[in-house]
Symmetry: C2
Subunit: 357 residues, 2 copies
């Protein structure tokens, strides 16, 4: 069996501005002080499981991705423009189908998630691969730790013949707090972490059923990928339909009993904002700037604060749960609570504030 | 009649850190963007009223004071060490007594207060001078605009023979909110702004009555001031008692009916902190740094905020009444409410954070 990991690496990361920028999104950064960037951690934790690894990203980030992971050109797929996760993952699945045949298993893993328990993750991936080999589109579902309203949920059904793998009854959109509490209390719902594992042929045949033009368009480009005609074939990219894999495949296929899920507790986080990031920092009042200069950070009546100092000392007084991020070229002052709404603010900032870093 | 203004210029200004530093206190700064520093504004508004002006300050600030006001050496009195307002004002009064005689009138005006209505101020000073010539220690009392608990209050008695000048029944320490509300509602209480006007001889004779050693010590030094023996005479400075003029003279003399007050409304503020400073800024979200660089300041769901940007743009989200002060060598994040307690925090900061600027 051949197993190829797909790492979609995109997204503006506005909710972690100014640490994360359009030109330097969070997957290219060592967000937690772990000594490696998020995409490096993602690749590392797949080590030993995969036969190959392909990152799909934009042309602006491709050089840094290749450098950080030490990838050859065959391991980088550059999207001409972002069209959502379905064209991105589907194109790589089609390239894998060309290179390794339709029985090769592909697994898609976001570039910017944190996972504390690598062994639990790898065990779950192995189970998902087994489920994929049995013909399913397998997902990895996270046992929820709280009624988070920022995630989609998976309604879990009966266990399948593959031990540890369960049928997905249906996928549920981000719920109200009331619904989320009900889901978590029931014990039969999981967080949808957006990790999909399937045979390349199964994935593309499902896509061909629900979005035939997208499937044939992707297979068309994939056929030309490892030839002299790649650039010409990519002319077809702009005609492809924007779509995300959850909507395009997972939801309709679940209705037909074709999707499974592997429940796992592994200390997972999508670092969706500063409140989430704070939980993964050794020292939330980070006193060391990126260039290594020690800076004094004084917290007075400001418990729970997250501080990134840069080139000057910071004193915070009387602002509990403050989020103060100094990157040298921009300064953000907010709170953990308010930071949840940061995306909208950052999207409307002048271009020079969101691009540079 | 000779009238000499005394401007005591001291104080660490911790409540306006990091704008105000030990090495650059607020009176040396243009805090409001008015185009002049606070001590320059203080000297300007005395223009036309005074025959001479003497600043009493520490050796560290004397050169900047002299430069900002264009003073000659005879207009600067350098305290060997800070001993409170009584030795500072008393020494200058004794020097004036030596130079101009004991009937010369002196008036003490803090270097770091804001006064919006210069004409009302000058009218009040003229009335206070008249009261001083009639033998009183005259104060200028501010008609309160709110029950502020940060000021001392003056309990006002009957009008004296000098029109516009009233007897002081007594001085009251900073009150509780309940007491302050009662004071303001009564209409017979004023804020004590710490401005005193008196004949030099009256002031020193009162001091001689309540603190004879201090009075004789100061007169001793003053005798030697304009001679070759000044430095030697200043050896006696360290033996003087630390004291403030309110306690040393004003309170006991009021009990004997020797103190008057001139009530005035003149848009007075002692800029005791950021909440007070904010009321005097044209644009509280100040977008221009000290070195003149225009910086973007974005306020989102942060009404009432005070922002000093320096060399990088600032985004504030979801922190109403935020106080964000970037001076380039330090960054303060607090709120108007919390800023009232800033003094204690700043006093305990490492030395390099409070000294430099």
């Amino acid at each position: 069996m051949t197993f190829v990991a797909i790492i979609p690496a995109g997204g503006a990361g506005t909710r972690l501005w100014p640490l994360s920028r359009r030109s330097k999104p969070k997957f290219l950064l060592d967000m937690t002080g772990a000594g490696r960037t998020l995409i490096q951690a993602t690749a590392n934790r797949l080590g030993g499981l995969v036969d190959d690894l392909i990152v799909v990203t934009g042309s602006d980030h491709a050089p840094q991705v290749a450098e950080q992971l030490g990838l050859s050109d065959s391991q980088i797929v550059i999207e001409p423009s972002p069209r959502g996760t379905m064209p991105a993952i589907g194109l790589v699945a089609a390239i894998v189908e060309q290179r390794h045949g339709s029985d090769a298993v592909v697994g898609s893993f976001a570039a910017d998630h944190l996972i504390a328990d690598t062994k639990a993750f790898q065990d779950a991936v192995r189970t998902a691969i087994a489920s994929a080999e049995a013909g399913a589109v397998a997902t990895i579902g996270i046992t929820p730790t709280n009624p988070d309203t920022g995630f989609g949920y998976i309604d879990v059904g009966e266990e399948t013949q593959v031990s540890g793998s369960f049928l997905v009854n249906r996928f549920l959109e981000k719920p109200s707090l009331e619904s989320a509490t009900r889901y978590v209390d029931s014990g039969t719902f999981l967080w949808n972490a957006g990790m999909f594992v399937a045979r390349a042929g199964v994935l593309l045949d499902a896509l061909a059923k629900y979005k035939p033009e997208l499937a044939s368009g992707l297979r068309e480009i994939a056929k030309a990928w490892d030839t002299e005609s790649r650039t010409q074939a990519l002319l077809g990219w702009d005609d492809l339909e924007d779509s995300v894999i959850d909507r395009a495949i997972a939801e309709p296929l679940a209705d037909e009993g074709g999707v499974t899920t592997v429940p796992v507790s592994m200390g997972w986080s999508d670092i969706g904002g500063y409140a989430s990031l704070a939980e993964h920092l050794d020292d939330p009042a980070k006193q060391v700037s990126e260039n290594g200069t020690q800076q004094t950070v004084v917290l007075s009546a400001s418990a729970g604060s997250v501080v990134y100092a840069h080139d000057r000392p910071i004193v915070i007084h009387g602002v509990p749960n403050a989020v103060v991020i100094d990157t040298g070229d921009a300064l953000l002052v907010t709170t953990k609570q308010a930071a949840a709404g940061l995306g909208g603010v950052v999207s409307s900032l002048p271009d020079d504030l969101t691009r540079l870093r």
